[in-house]
Symmetry: C2
Subunit: 83 residues, 2 copies
Protein backbone atom coordinates (compact mmCIF):
# COMPACT_ATOMS: atom_id res chain seq x y z
CA UNK A 1 0.00 0.00 0.00
CA UNK A 2 1.52 3.31 -0.99
CA UNK A 3 1.62 6.17 1.49
CA UNK A 4 -0.46 8.20 -0.96
CA UNK A 5 -3.52 5.96 -0.46
CA UNK A 6 -3.18 6.34 3.32
CA UNK A 7 -3.05 10.11 2.86
CA UNK A 8 -6.15 10.08 0.62
CA UNK A 9 -8.03 7.86 3.08
CA UNK A 10 -7.12 10.22 5.95
CA UNK A 11 -8.24 13.25 3.95
CA UNK A 12 -11.54 11.62 3.02
CA UNK A 13 -12.35 10.39 6.55
CA UNK A 14 -11.39 13.78 7.99
CA UNK A 15 -13.81 15.44 5.60
CA UNK A 16 -16.88 13.39 6.46
CA UNK A 17 -16.29 12.54 10.11
CA UNK A 18 -18.05 15.59 11.64
CA UNK A 19 -21.26 15.08 9.69
CA UNK A 20 -22.65 12.46 12.18
CA UNK A 21 -21.81 14.81 15.08
CA UNK A 22 -23.62 17.70 13.38
CA UNK A 23 -26.66 15.48 12.70
CA UNK A 24 -26.72 14.20 16.28
CA UNK A 25 -26.64 17.62 17.97
CA UNK A 26 -29.40 18.96 15.74
CA UNK A 27 -31.54 15.83 16.17
CA UNK A 28 -31.15 15.60 19.96
CA UNK A 29 -30.60 19.32 20.70
CA UNK A 30 -28.22 18.08 23.39
CA UNK A 31 -24.76 19.65 23.31
CA UNK A 32 -23.84 19.60 27.00
CA UNK A 33 -20.82 17.33 26.75
CA UNK A 34 -19.36 19.18 23.79
CA UNK A 35 -16.51 21.50 24.78
CA UNK A 36 -17.28 24.94 23.32
CA UNK A 37 -13.59 25.87 23.21
CA UNK A 38 -12.68 22.65 21.36
CA UNK A 39 -15.47 23.16 18.81
CA UNK A 40 -14.61 26.83 18.24
CA UNK A 41 -10.88 26.02 17.94
CA UNK A 42 -11.64 23.28 15.42
CA UNK A 43 -13.93 25.58 13.44
CA UNK A 44 -11.03 28.09 13.37
CA UNK A 45 -8.70 25.27 12.26
CA UNK A 46 -10.80 24.18 9.27
CA UNK A 47 -11.49 27.82 8.34
CA UNK A 48 -7.72 28.45 8.26
CA UNK A 49 -7.20 25.30 6.15
CA UNK A 50 -9.88 26.55 3.77
CA UNK A 51 -8.18 29.98 3.57
CA UNK A 52 -4.84 28.26 2.98
CA UNK A 53 -6.41 26.10 0.25
CA UNK A 54 -7.84 29.20 -1.46
CA UNK A 55 -4.49 31.04 -1.19
CA UNK A 56 -2.54 28.22 -2.85
CA UNK A 57 -5.55 27.28 -5.05
CA UNK A 58 -5.51 23.64 -3.99
CA UNK A 59 -8.91 22.18 -4.90
CA UNK A 60 -8.82 19.02 -2.74
CA UNK A 61 -8.03 21.23 0.28
CA UNK A 62 -10.76 23.72 -0.67
CA UNK A 63 -13.50 21.13 -1.26
CA UNK A 64 -12.67 19.05 1.84
CA UNK A 65 -12.64 22.10 4.07
CA UNK A 66 -15.90 23.52 2.69
CA UNK A 67 -17.53 20.30 3.99
CA UNK A 68 -15.72 20.52 7.35
CA UNK A 69 -16.44 24.23 7.85
CA UNK A 70 -20.14 23.60 7.14
CA UNK A 71 -20.34 20.72 9.63
CA UNK A 72 -18.47 22.72 12.28
CA UNK A 73 -20.65 25.82 11.81
CA UNK A 74 -23.69 23.55 12.34
CA UNK A 75 -22.13 22.11 15.52
CA UNK A 76 -21.00 25.45 16.99
CA UNK A 77 -24.38 27.04 16.18
CA UNK A 78 -26.16 24.17 17.96
CA UNK A 79 -23.81 24.48 20.93
CA UNK A 80 -24.60 28.21 21.27
CA UNK A 81 -28.34 27.75 20.65
CA UNK A 82 -29.09 24.66 22.78
CA UNK A 83 -27.29 25.27 26.07
CA UNK B 1 0.64 37.43 5.33
CA UNK B 2 2.01 34.51 3.41
CA UNK B 3 -0.08 31.35 2.92
CA UNK B 4 2.60 29.40 4.79
CA UNK B 5 1.80 31.19 8.08
CA UNK B 6 -1.89 30.39 7.62
CA UNK B 7 -0.95 26.75 7.04
CA UNK B 8 1.24 26.67 10.16
CA UNK B 9 -1.50 28.32 12.26
CA UNK B 10 -4.05 25.77 10.99
CA UNK B 11 -1.69 22.87 11.78
CA UNK B 12 -0.98 24.19 15.28
CA UNK B 13 -4.64 24.87 16.15
CA UNK B 14 -5.66 21.47 14.75
CA UNK B 15 -3.09 19.84 17.01
CA UNK B 16 -4.21 21.38 20.27
CA UNK B 17 -7.95 21.84 19.72
CA UNK B 18 -9.09 18.42 21.07
CA UNK B 19 -7.23 18.78 24.35
CA UNK B 20 -10.03 20.87 26.00
CA UNK B 21 -12.62 18.31 24.82
CA UNK B 22 -10.58 15.44 26.30
CA UNK B 23 -10.19 17.33 29.60
CA UNK B 24 -13.90 18.16 29.74
CA UNK B 25 -15.16 14.59 29.23
CA UNK B 26 -12.79 13.20 31.85
CA UNK B 27 -13.62 15.97 34.34
CA UNK B 28 -17.39 15.80 33.91
CA UNK B 29 -17.67 12.10 32.89
CA UNK B 30 -20.48 13.31 30.62
CA UNK B 31 -20.20 12.19 26.99
CA UNK B 32 -23.85 11.90 26.02
CA UNK B 33 -23.88 14.55 23.30
CA UNK B 34 -20.70 13.26 21.67
CA UNK B 35 -21.39 11.20 18.55
CA UNK B 36 -19.53 7.89 18.93
CA UNK B 37 -19.28 7.43 15.18
CA UNK B 38 -17.85 10.95 14.69
CA UNK B 39 -15.27 10.43 17.45
CA UNK B 40 -14.24 6.98 16.15
CA UNK B 41 -14.03 8.27 12.56
CA UNK B 42 -11.87 11.19 13.69
CA UNK B 43 -9.63 8.86 15.74
CA UNK B 44 -9.24 6.77 12.55
CA UNK B 45 -8.47 9.97 10.61
CA UNK B 46 -5.65 11.16 12.88
CA UNK B 47 -4.28 7.58 13.14
CA UNK B 48 -4.10 7.44 9.33
CA UNK B 49 -2.40 10.86 9.24
CA UNK B 50 0.11 9.58 11.80
CA UNK B 51 0.74 6.44 9.70
CA UNK B 52 1.13 8.62 6.61
CA UNK B 53 3.56 10.89 8.48
CA UNK B 54 5.65 7.87 9.55
CA UNK B 55 5.63 6.45 6.00
CA UNK B 56 6.91 9.66 4.45
CA UNK B 57 8.98 10.47 7.60
CA UNK B 58 7.48 13.93 7.98
CA UNK B 59 8.20 15.05 11.55
CA UNK B 60 5.67 17.92 11.81
CA UNK B 61 2.93 15.49 10.68
CA UNK B 62 4.16 12.80 13.10
CA UNK B 63 4.40 15.08 16.15
CA UNK B 64 1.10 16.88 15.51
CA UNK B 65 -0.75 13.59 15.07
CA UNK B 66 0.77 11.95 18.15
CA UNK B 67 -0.91 14.76 20.13
CA UNK B 68 -4.22 14.39 18.24
CA UNK B 69 -4.27 10.57 18.49
CA UNK B 70 -3.65 10.82 22.27
CA UNK B 71 -6.47 13.33 22.76
CA UNK B 72 -8.86 11.28 20.60
CA UNK B 73 -8.01 8.00 22.40
CA UNK B 74 -8.83 9.79 25.68
CA UNK B 75 -12.16 11.03 24.24
CA UNK B 76 -13.21 7.70 22.68
CA UNK B 77 -12.22 5.81 25.86
CA UNK B 78 -14.34 8.21 27.93
CA UNK B 79 -17.25 7.82 25.50
CA UNK B 80 -17.13 4.02 25.84
CA UNK B 81 -16.58 4.08 29.62
CA UNK B 82 -19.08 6.76 30.71
CA UNK B 83 -22.27 5.99 28.80
Amino acid sequence: MTPLYIGYAAAMLGTICWIPQALQVWRTRDTRSLSLSAQVLFLATVTLWLAYGVMIMDWPLILANIVSVSAMIAIVTAKLKFK
